[in-house]
Each structure stands twice: as C-alpha cells, then as structure tokens.
Assembly symmetry: C2
Homo-oligomer: 329 residues x 2
C-alpha cells in the first residue's frame, strides 16, 4: 500500500514476519479467566505477551527488522532509542543474530530495563528525557558507525513484526471457533496497534479495535478525533512509562486512523487496579503500560457485554518496588 | 487396582475425570522460556497451574469428587479441611454445582485464602494448627450435617482429578512431538503427585518422576527411602505453607512409591529464588509451595541436562507482603 511518501506494511508483511519469527519468538498463550468473563459479562481473552522474550512484544518487531538487514551490514550493528522494552527487544534480537547493538536510553528508565539491556551485550548510552533529543543522538551514532537505526515503531518491518501477535490471537481464537468482536490495544507510538490491526482486520474485518492510552497521554485518541497527528503536552507523569511517546508515528497513524479510529484512556488508578487484578486473579506480572488494555476493560471504557473481547498484556517489566505499591493498594 | 484395604485409582480414572472437567476447569498453558532452557541446558516446560480456577490445581480434584456425589446428597453439601488452596477448590466447585460447603481452616492460613473461601459462599470454621485436629473437626461436622467430606488428597476421585493436569502435559508435549524425560512434582499429601504420575506413566512409562518438598518437610522422600510412611517432625516453619502435611497419604503413597520413588527437597532460600525467577523472567506469580519444583530444577537437585523436563507451578495464592519480600530479595 502506498500513500505517497511512505510505503505502508500490509497483512502480507505480517505473514512474512510470522515466518521469520517462527521458532524464535515465543508463541505466547491467549488466556481466559472465568472470573473475568463473569465480571465483564463477556468472553474475554488476554494475550499474555508478558511471556515474550525479554518480557514484552517489542522483540517481535526488532527481530523482524534486524534479521532483514542485508548480511554485509551486520558487522556494523544496530542502534536504537527506547524507554526500555524496545531496547531489550533490539538488544536480544541483535545478540541472537550475533550483531553489535547500541541503545540510547533515558536516564530515568526503570533500572531492570537498563541492566537487562546491558546484560545482553548492548552498549547503553543514557540521555536526559527532558532536555535531549534521543532520536538525534541515535541518528548521529548510526551515521558515525554505519549502524542501522532500528526505530521503535515507524517502520514497516517493525509494524509487521508486532503484528504477528495479532495473527496468533486470530489463530488461537479460531481453534475455539471464535472471532474477535472487540480488541483493545495499548498505544504509544502505535506500532503494536498498527501491526495487530493489520492482522486482525485481514481475518476479522468486522472486529472493532480500540487503542488504549494513559489519561493525559492520549495523543492517538485525540489524533483520531482531529484527523491529524496531535502531541502530548507532557513527556512524564504517568505510571505507564512504556506509553509516553510524544505523538503517533506517521506510518502507524496512517494505518491506525484507517483500521482503528477509536481510542479510550485509563487513569493511573485504573491501571493500578488492573495490575492488582492480574496479580490476584490471573497470577500474571504485568507492568503498568502493559495493563492499559485490561484497565480499560475493567473500568468499562469499552462496551464488551456479550462479546468476544481481546486485550493485550503487552509487557511485564516492572520494578519490584513499584509492583508492590500497585498490588498492595 | 486393589491393594487390599483400598481401591487405588488408575489412569482410566484420570481419563474419566478429564471428561468431567472438560469446559469447567481451565486448560492451563504449558510454558517454556528460552532463558530457562539456556540456563539448565534442557528443554524445560512449566505447567502454569497458577492460572487454574482459584489459582491452584486443587479445583481439579475437588470438582471431580464433588460432581460425582449422588444427586440426592447434594443439598447436605460438602465439608473440607485445608490450609488454603484445597479450601478454595472445594468452595469453588461446590458453588459451581450449587451445593453448600463448610471449610475447616487453620487460623494462620494466609488472609487472601481465607477471604476468598468465604467470598465463594463457603462457611469458614477456623482451628488452631498446633493444638486441634482438623480432620476430627471436619468429620464431626460431616456427621452432624450429613455432608460429604472432601479429603485433600487420599481419595481416588481427588487423585484422579489432579491427574488431569498430567494428561494435559502429555497432550501438549505431544503437539510439539515430545515426551517428558523428567517430571518434578511438589508433594504434600501427595495427591497431585499420584494423579500426575498415573497420567504421565500411562503415556510415557520411561519418564523419571521426582517429588519435591521443602527441606525439613520431606516426609515423602524419607518414606520412599524407608519403604513406609514417615512423618514430619514439625507442622510449621517453612515459607511453603501449602506443603505442610504431616505425612504422605495411604493411597497416594501406595501409588507414588510405585510410580515415583524418588524425592528431592529445596530450602526456603532456593524456593524464594524460584519465586523471584518466575517474577522477573516468566512474569508469573507463583506462591512458595507452588514454586518448589522450579526451585529444585534451578538449584540443580535433578539432572535435566539435554532432557525434556517438566515442573508444575502448582499454585499462585500469595500475600502481596510475602511476595514482595521474595521478589525484592
């Protein structure tokens, strides 16, 4: 699909990504809970992407992108800028493929995310989230070293890689004779939403898809309403550290405004309740940003009564201290 | 199979239980993790029974037992004694079937377990673990009310119900073209071990099965060695509150000494490390007793090098305070 300046990925690119990721990415389980079904009066399925390599969906897009780099460029490696989960995904994919990786990361990123990225053999370069431009730093390093920049979302291969998760949802529901009526996907830059929407809509065109964002960081929902890419006023101030992109991506918005077009938001308190629910009832560790879709469902932000509803638990990388605060509340 | 005084369940009883539980119990996922495989040099699979109804395997046996009670006795209900997970399993099964339930529970059982049992509509009667005999209390209530006693492990239907979990392990491994070489099962009274061993050995006679117990509460391992049922010296003093039965059951020992015969143990520290590993690497909430098999694997108590190894994460009902202590260590 061509929209002038950029070539957008399609469901066929998601299929190709699924082939590349087979046997490499974890096929994470699609979980249901009688208690959740009863509570919401729906058939609810949660894609436990928390169990993906490095604890978040980001590995899918990173591996799809990095494994597609021409072989002669592998020795120069890759560079990425990320608030955390993308960093780990890129570092893990590069390590699996034997390539060097540089990660430009905000100095306030959760400690386990920084440590894990370094433990994967990546070189970590910290920057000040409020003062410096991470993308500019990453581009400079890419230029100096001849490394390939692995963007967090606005890239056809990244989007297609994340979309493999949507493909698995469709396949697993089909085994139970079901199709999704409602799908709720957390959105920051919008790569997960775009890829997943491509896969879901190709197989279930009638599905109603929603993005979910933290209150005050609902750039995607506002962009849907205005028809152009809106920005967030702030770059900090939500417990959902994984969901603080400045604005929707260009490619991701082109896809999401066409296939999704509807966004909901949840407060930090609603997200905390969802993290606590996952701990108590599902025995799953979900990071705040990863629980935004479940939070939206539990808070009744989307009408799912009598429907087959899917939310994605997109990541589980959370500090023990923050996790305790959320589950003990 | 008849051993004189008692008729022991067989793999056929597990098959019958699977039919009763179909669509009622959750078919919990069998999870693998590249990080765990790499660390142990094995293909490791974890049965995430933490995601079962009420957060533990106990629902399986309880539902199999209670749904088999003759209809005319349903109005008098059921009674059970339990340190927690069995209580919730019985209460949930009775509620689903519309039967009253009385649960005799130690006064020091974790708060969430007490609260959940009551929330399921069961009548909770507390006793002092050090001074009173829970079994005698339960039998008295059963006699007074005409209720059916649902024992925690020493019952053919309970054992067969727990065994459905082993059947699912075999089925899920078969889908990947695998059979288990090593299976590690936590043991308290031994019902989960017995049922699972029946199912596993019927399909994979070459599998090496081990029980896992807390250090100092290794009555099953000692019983294997001496050839008769040994008791634990203490009834408290491990973080594995779910694994403190006094001695192996009569039926369960008859089965386990024949099909298992080998036991390992893990220290509280090793269990804590396993709970932390599950939090960080698997994003799963596992209670201490539920992590004993994983603890044994991580601590190298069982040789799994190059093998297909399975451990059961048998429960996830843990207080936030204790959980934090374990994951922050």
């Amino acid at each position: 699909m061509d929209t002038g300046s950029v070539t957008l990925p399609t469901a066929l690119d998601v299929d190709a990504a699924a082939t590349r990721l087979a046997g490499v990415a974890i096929r994470t389980p699609l979980i249901s809970s009688p208690m959740l079904d009863e509570r919401l009066g729906a058939r609810v399925f949660l894609k436990a992407e928390t169990m993906q390599r490095m604890g978040a969906f980001k590995f899918r897009g990173a591996y799809n992108k990095i494994s597609s780099i021409p072989r002669d460029r592998w020795p120069s490696g890759v560079v990425a800028f990320s608030s955390g989960n993308h960093a780990q995904g890129v570092a893990a994919a590069a390590k699996l493929l034997g390539m060097p990786a540089v990660i430009v990361m905000p100095s306030d990123a959760p400690r386990p995310k920084r440590e894990r990225t370094a433990a994967l053999g990546a070189e970590v370069i910290l920057y000040d989230r409020e003062k410096e431009d991470r993308e500019a730093i990453a581009r400079r390093i890419a230029g100096e070293r001849g490394a390939v920049l692995v963007p967090p979302y606005d890239d056809p291969l990244i989007i297609a890689g994340q979309g493999t998760l949507g493909r698995e949802i469709i396949e697993d529901l089909a085994k139970a004779g079901l199709k999704p009526d409602v799908v709720v996907i957390g959105a920051s830059g919008g790569g997960l939403a775009a890829g997943t929407a491509l896969a879901i809509k190709a197989a279930a065109p009638q599905a109603d898809i929603f993005t979910a964002e933290p209150e005050g960081f609902d750039d995607t929902a506002r962009s849907f309403r205005s028809g152009k890419r809106e920005s967030n006023a702030r770059m900090s101030g939500t417990i959902c550290d994984a969901l603080m992109s400045q604005h929707p991506g260009e490619m991701t918005f082109a896809i999401n405004s066409r296939l999704i077009g509807k966004g909901v938001s949840a407060s930090d308190e609603e997200v905390a309740r969802a993290v606590g629910f996952a701990f108590r009832e599902l025995k799953l560790v979900v990071e705040p940003g990863g629980a935004i879709g479940l939070a939206a469902l539990l808070a009744g932000k989307v009408d799912v009564k009598g429907k087959v509803a899917v939310a994605i638990l997109s990541g589980g990388n959370v500090d023990p201290d923050l996790f305790y605060k959320l589950i003990a509340a």
